[in-house]
């Protein structure tokens, strides 16, 4: 697993949003000091509750936001300073993104073929007659067949799952190496979710793509991702192999999260974990561990500084003083 | 309260801008008021007299910024200068007479139009396709498409000149002495207000009604309305406390914005119904290039609109708890 070199890497990635008017500014610390790697042919999941900063992470990597601090290393090179359209265009031909809501990520006024042709044109992947062929190929890849049925349609004429497939096809059009998928299935019906996940898994395997899979559904992370990172209030608190992490959570927050997931297979009504408190507001988090307020094992130093990364194994680390030998 | 403070800040800026605009406009206009006045006497005034008039009128020479600051400092002292056309009466006095009448008439008519429009809008949305919705709504729509003055004149000729039900003009019967404590005078004022106010109401009501109806229809499909109904609340309670309270909010902003419009539009009412007021004063001031008066009226109208907006904002804050916290 470690053998391959990471294709995309975040180093100390931090994003602070400034909100409010000129009078009273508030800083939302949406992402703090995040470091992780994405590998070709691997899916890395990012799970956490709503507002914990998952989308922010994905959008930072997609260069939709400028990071406040940190590096985004693509193929060994920091790309944060790459600005201007041509440099970004280069980056974007390698890193693509899929959005949560297939209803709003396709422009209702454009046809499916427009959506697929644009990236081909922008990144000069095809021209003229080739273009149509290429569009059809893409639709084939995402199992929208026969392609000719779909090209003239508009997004509203497709179902959610079909739309999400179009979105995937659009991302694939530029032949990227990395795909950032921000909750790609959460808006879809249960019955079609697996189709999309399986499609992405197929792409990962066939095209050796690296995926960042953002989700709030731990079970799907277990199913789809090779590695999983758990995020809480802007911090990645635990990371490790998906199976390992879900079966044997270490960080108190991960434990809490897992215990909250309804799971009929685990037997009915067995879990009885008292959960108190709520996710802190991101504009109010202080220096310490953001989970301190809810943590059953809280210690005084938890409130003073964010615990450092403690490596538990080759692939596994956690940020919690419970594991800090010092 | 932060909301109100912000708005206050905005009004201050708006005031400054309009004051500046006010200062600039006469300096861009052609036509010298003293020359014009002289011309009106058809050449019988001695040039020496004109010279000294320039001085008396207080035409400040000198660099523009100096003039501007003199203007501002005069304004701060409540000194709007002396009306040229009504020399030597101070502008404030010229305006004072008209402003009261304009505010009374327009204020009353606007409040009536607004309340009636809101009320009818509520009814129309509540009972779709019934009388208010299918008969009154199109009629008010048609009425608001009529040129105001045209409708007003027809009304005047028909009801005042033809049928003699209403007076032909003026704000009160000239046979009654102006005395705000006399019921006879008050009823005369009301009687004289009926026609002009009705025409304003007739042409304005359609907009409010349609806006309110549409907002109301949107609100009615909200879950909280269904929930209120499911709770078994009376129709009245649901309609007013739950639906209308929410639906009125957008109209309220519109209401504030429309005041400037209505105050300005009062000009036509004043002309058609020989009603006293600032609108006509403004028109005369422009025609005679009575700059101080023109500036004064314009400033007064602007201030009145700003104050009305502030009131509407306050209302807004009272009605919408969400902005209170913001």
């Amino acid at each position: 697993m470690i053998a391959a070199k990471p294709i995309l890497e975040a180093q100390g990635l931090t994003k602070h949003f400034r909100t409010g008017g000129a009078v009273s500014q508030r800083v939302v610390k949406a992402l703090q000091d995040a470091s992780f790697q994405l590998y070709p042919g691997k899916v890395t999941a990012l799970v956490g509750e709503s507002g914990s900063g998952k989308s922010t992470t994905a959008r930072l990597l997609a260069r939709l936001y400028e990071p406040t601090a940190g590096q985004i290393i693509y193929a060994g090179r920091d790309t944060v300073e790459d600005k201007g359209r041509s440099k970004l265009l280069k980056y974007r031909s390698e890193v693509q993104m899929i959005f949560q809501d297939p209803f709003s990520s396709l422009n209702p006024v454009h046809s499916i073929s427009y959506h697929l042709k644009r990236p081909l044109q922008i990144h000069r992947k095809a021209q003229g007659r080739q273009m149509t062929e290429k569009v059809h190929d893409l639709l084939h890849t995402v199992a929208l067949t026969p392609p000719a049925d779909y090209t003239p349609k508009y997004p509203h004429q497709l179902s959610g799952g079909q739309r999400q497939r179009v979105a995937i096809a659009r991302a694939l059009a530029v032949e990227p190496k990395v795909i950032l998928a921000d909750e790609p299935i959460s808006m879809l019906d249960v019955s079609i979710r697996m189709g999309i996940l399986n499609l992405m898994a197929k792409l990962r395997d066939e095209q050796n793509l690296a995926f960042l899979y953002v989700t709030h559904d731990l079970a799907s992370a277990r199913y789809f991702a090779d590695e999983t990172m758990v995020m809480y209030a802007g911090h990645i608190v635990e990371s490790g192999g998906s199976e390992e992490l879900t079966q044997d959570p270490q960080h108190p927050y991960t434990q809490l999260l897992l215990s909250a997931v309804p799971d009929p297979a685990r037997g009915l009504r067995t879990q009885e974990t008292e959960i108190a408190g709520e996710v802190p507001s991101l504009s109010e988090v202080g220096e310490g561990c953001p989970f301190a307020a809810r943590c059953p094992h809280v210690m005084s130093r938890c409130r003073e500084a964010m615990p450092p990364v403690t490596r538990l194994s080759e692939t596994r680390w956690v940020r919690c003083y419970l594991f800090d030998e010092a | 309260m932060r909301f109100i403070l912000r708005r206050l800040g905005f009004y201050l800026i708006a005031l400054l801008v309009s004051v500046t605009l006010n200062f600039m406009i006469p300096r861009l206009m052609s036509g010298d008021p003293v020359q014009l006045m002289f011309a009106r006497f058809q050449g019988r005034m001695d040039p020496r007299a004109i010279e000294s008039l320039y001085e008396t009128f207080g035409f400040v020479q000198g660099p523009l910024h100096e003039q501007y600051f003199t203007y501002l400092s005069h304004l701060l002292q409540g000194d709007l200068g002396v009306s040229i056309a009504n020399f030597p009466i101070p502008v404030t006095e010229v305006i004072a007479v008209g402003l009261g009448w304009t505010l009374r008439l327009v204020g009353l008519a606007t409040v009536i139009a607004f309340s009636a429009g809101i009320f009818l809008g509520i009814r129309a949305a509540w009972r779709r396709g019934r009388f208010a919705d299918s008969v009154i709504l199109p009629i008010t729509g048609l009425l608001s498409a009529f040129p105001y003055f045209w409708l007003a004149m027809l009304v005047l000729y028909f009801f005042a000149l033809g049928l003699g039900w209403f007076p032909l003009g003026h704000a009160y019967s000239l046979d009654i002495h102006q005395d705000w404590s006399s019921p006879e005078y008050l009823s005369s004022v009301l009687h004289h207000m009926i026609l002009p106010a009705t025409t304003i109401v007739l042409t304005a009501i359609g907009g409010w009604m349609l806006g309110m109806r549409n907002n109301m229809i949107s609100v009615l499909s909200e879950d909280y309305i269904t929930m209120a109904q499911a709770k078994g609340l009376s129709d009245r309670r649901v309609m007013y406390t739950y639906a209308a309270r929410n639906a009125i909010l957008p109209s309220l902003t519109g209401f504030a914005m429309s005041l400037g419009f209505v105050l300005g539009g009062a000009l036509l009412t004043e002309i058609v119904f020989s009603y006293p007021g600032v609108g006509y004063t403004l028109l005369t001031a422009v025609n005679t290039r009575d700059y101080p008066l023109m500036q004064g009226v314009f400033l007064m109208i602007t201030v009145a609109v700003l104050v009305a907006n502030l009131l509407a904002d306050t209302m807004y804050v009272l009605l919408d708890p969400r902005v209170r916290a913001a």
Binding site: - | M37, F41, Q42, G43, R48, A49, N86, F87, G100, P276
Partner: protein, 541 residues
Amino acid sequence: QDDGIPRGGIVTVSHEAFSVVLRNFSPFAPTQNPASQAFIYEPLMVWNEVDGEIIPWLATGFVWSDDLLTLTFNIREGVMWNDGETFDANDVLYTMNLTREFPALDRGAVWAFLDSVELLDDYTIQFNLGEVYSLADVLIAQTRPVPEHIWSELDDPVTFVDDDPVATGPFSVVCRLEDQVFELCANPLYWQEGRPYVDAIRYPAYPGNEQSTLALINGDIDWGGHFIPDVETTYAAADPDNFNFYYWPGGATVNLYMNTTKAPYDDVAFRRAVSQAIDYNAVVNIGMYGYTIPSDPTGLGPRFEGWASQEALERAAELGLNEYAPSAAAATLDEAGYLDVNGDGFRELPNGDPMSMNVQVVNGWTDWVTSVQIISQNLQDIGVNAQVVTPEFGEWLNNLQTGDYDISIGWSSSGYTPWNYYRDSLDSSLLGADNIANATSWSRWFSDDADALLAAFTATADPDEQFQVLSDLQMLFVENVPLVPLFPGPTWYQWNTQQFTGFPTADNYYTQGSPWSRDSNSRLLVAVNIHCIDDTACGQE
């Protein structure tokens, strides 16, 4: 009083547009309520425009010295200010000195020719002129004295807002002043025995003609003075017995001015052709609703009939001036070389350059706008490319004064004699150093002959001599056509005899009837003459 004249009643007057009442009755206010010019502060003498007589009022008469350099006025005795103080020559002297000290108050511009004023006794005052100026008497006679005992106490008479006037006039008591109406009540101390007959004059606010017309038709107004379209059908027909109107065509002549500093207006032949091209009857009947008559070529009008020079009129007829004769006009242009050489339907300048012109008229002055529309249509008919433009008043005036126009309709001056008409249009001294054409010298047509004649007129008080000078001026005028007289300005005047009588009528037009004329105070004659038709009509309150 047992003169049999019923007393009482409130006469309702409509005059110029105003929408709210303002409290100022100062006789010096640059834009006064016409009321205050006559009914409150009275003049020394009243000039009756209709017969040209000067009627003794606060002064009983005046005498010129033989050298025409001093003028002595006798002030009436027994006149009281409405606060009970006595009025005498001291007040006149005070007023004269006030206007000298504050030029802004010198509305009659008397200090242009006056040297000094001195008191001979309490009821005699002498005016010393710097040079001979034979029109000084009328101008001084119109001075309206203010009470020294009040005005001398003021800080600044120029900005004095006179809301409770102390004056001598028949209606000098401001007994009601509200937002939309003011009333001037009869002065109980008035010097004319038993006058005025009515209790008060009421001025309601009417923002425009439309509104006063409605009120007139409704019988709300007793005495009106404004334009009404189709007055017979709209107004008079509503109550033929009582709703009367008479539009005396004695106002100052309205002219067509041409910018004679530019081609083709510098060419007298062109100007003559314009004079021949206009359909004066259409202008008067359509533009002016038939409320006036076409002007004669000298521009003097019926009021100055006595001054008319037959010689000049004959010459004008010879030249075909002021006659609607399109073919003659065309011929004149042909002859002068204005031909349509390029065949576009419009004539070119004799040198072949295209010729087109804007005819200016003030926006909103609809009677004039229509007149100008007719005129431009007339000019187009003879192949002159004329278009109507309607700048706002300010720009229009500015254009005329700076000479930035082609042709324009415009007013002229009227006065006690026709001299003012010619002086204000032709006197070269009116062209200011800054090239501003003052008064009505907008045609910018000047000549030494004209200047000399104008000076000669005021240098003598001899009627025959003056007549001769004026004849020469008329001849000069028709020969050169510096401007084209269109029609004498009608004076709008309506009266309602449902309640009041005593107004000038068409048959007995004893003086100018309009309640608001700027030129004279003759409405004072009407005001002291109006009375109820009978004791019941005015419903004594």
